[in-house]
Amino acid sequence: MSGRPASPRRRAPLFLRLGVIAIVVAAWELAAHVFTHIGTSGDPTVPSIEFLGTNSIRRLADFWNGGLGAPSPSAGGKETYWGAVLAVGQASAASLERVFVGVTIGLLLGIVVGVLTSTSRRLRAIMAPSMHFLRMVPFLALAPLFEVWFGKTDLGAISFIAYGVSVVTFTGTIGAVSVLPRVFIERAATNGASRWATYRHVILPGIVPAMRATVLTALGLAWTLDVAAEILGTQRGLGVMMDYSLRFSYTGRVIVVALIFLFYAAVTYYLVQYLTAVMIRWQPRHEVEVSQLTAIGGAAPPPTA
């Protein structure tokens, strides 16, 4: 392995990290006050934090159709913060549900096909070029295609997400099974285990740590694909807000919705990371740190040759 032990992850002091965030925010505010140009929509091209927090957020209430204590602006009612919260909540539920369903389908498909393919060298040879090709066709480039196929429907977005997730998961599963020490599978065989028993007791539990990185990558990709679909326009969810705001160049609202997406992507990522930590508590003490490189890449790590 490496020539020296991995240096301990130095957590920067809290004030330093907050300081960096403060610098970024300050830089933004500076830009907002320097570039004071107002766009055709009435929104400033670079909206200040104040503008985002007041006008942009409140205007999101436009998407609320009344009820639960908030008036419906489209029916002539006032735009309220509460209304905005409800609108965002309703839209978020739709987006979150889409991502959840897409990820689940994609993971199941990828893992099942991946595990079954791993068992035979011949099967792997059969699948290899096709999967490599599918992997190389960029997912984002397919967004318009899925829109032509499914229209701007939930099914389309879910299929899009499921496709990307399954391709990435398949590759990750093949990789995870290939690094599982052969001795475990041999041991199962010398205990008379059938193929299914080996999957159930050895392969599936054994690949969990390696799969964790893949799952987190897939989650990052799922949000990326969802945002891509929502920008193009969807029937439900945050994409409706995004699409509308883009159409009329409401810069402020575009930024707010983008930040909401970012928030959800980050929260679900850390949530999954935390929850799956339980599943790997049996892992021996060397580096358990999940590679977040792959999460950024949005592409699967190259399978081990």
């Binding site: 960096v20 318009p144 920008i231 983008a258």
Partner: protein
């Protein structure tokens, strides 16, 4: 005893030849199986194109035909203002942007990774920001870039460059950390200048990892570029896709996508070979 040795040697040569032919057969078998699998995919496509309406899917032959016909010129592209060009013309724009962005981003990432390896405090402060960045904010900022800068090409290059830089930084950082410090110490005691040290030790040591990161970044960069073009660009396959989707030319849509996929595959293969060549020095 002597006779035994001679027959041993003779057997060795024959075994080696037999072994080689057996190995070649093995590779051929794997390749054949792969071709079989790919062929099955094409057959599936063909079948689906017969059960689905032509507005959704056309058979592979039509896609190839479309590509051949309109490689140099597609009337729709001219109608929408891109001049007298076809798939190839638009593709060249995409390739130019991706290559430019990847090279710039890769270089920045390489040196940033080296820098962060030496400045752990700065790295610890900035890294969480870089990590949470991921691809979602890049997606989210794309439409904003169009609003702010209009239909220009440098926003796409910027996107690809930023993304590539982030990924390559991480990989270069990892490569720099894994480099045994003794190499550099030795070079320093030998009196080597910073530039020489960089050239002979850091570069070959960190380059393989950085190139691995570049490969990963590049794979996704094609998608970023194409999608960004879709949202608004003065050229590129992404714009072609938007036009073709508007006129419901599904064969054109599929042709564009496959073309990009092929280019991505080729670029990946080139990068892999290039990496192998470069790392052979080290």
């Amino acid at each position: 005893m002597l006779g035994g040795e001679r027959s041993d040697a003779g057997r060795g040569v024959k075994q080696r030849r037999a072994g080689r032919s057996r190995r070649v057969l093995g590779i051929l078998e794997m390749a054949a199986l792969g071709a079989l699998g790919f062929g099955a995919l094409l057959v599936l496509w063909q079948y689906l194109s017969t059960v689905l309406p032509p507005s959704r899917l056309v058979p592979p032959s039509l896609v190839v035909e479309e590509l051949q016909q309109h490689l140099g010129y597609h009337p729709a592209f001219e109608t929408f203002g891109f001049g007298h060009l076809g798939y190839l013309g638009l593709l060249l724009y995409t390739i130019r942007n991706v290559v430019l962005g990847a090279v710039v981003g890769g270089s920045v990432g390489f040196f940033a990774g080296l820098f962060f390896a030496r400045a752990p405090l700065i790295r610890a402060a900035v890294e969480p920001i870089l990590l949470t960045l991921g691809t979602v904010p890049l997606l989210a900022v794309m439409p904003l870039l169009v609003i702010w800068f209009g239909i220009v090409s440098y926003t796409q290059v910027l996107l690809v460059a930023v993304y590539t830089a982030i990924v390559v930084t991480q990989y270069a950082l990892r490569g720099a950390e894994n480099l045994p410090p003794v190499y550099e110490r030795r070079a320093r005691t030998c009196g080597a200048s910073s530039w020489t040290r960089l050239r002979t030790i850091l570069l070959p040591g960190v380059l393989p990892e950085a190139l691995a990161g570049l490969r990963i970044a590049l794979a996704f960069a094609w998608g970023l570029e194409t999608y960004a073009e879709t949202l608004g660009a003065p050229g590129g396959s992404g714009q072609g896709i938007v036009i073709l989707a508007n006129v419901n030319a599904i064969e054109g849509l599929l042709a564009s996508i496959l073309l990009i996929g092929a280019v991505a595959l080729l670029a990946d293969a080139i990068l892999v070979t290039g990496t192998r060549v470069v790392t052979r020095w080290s």
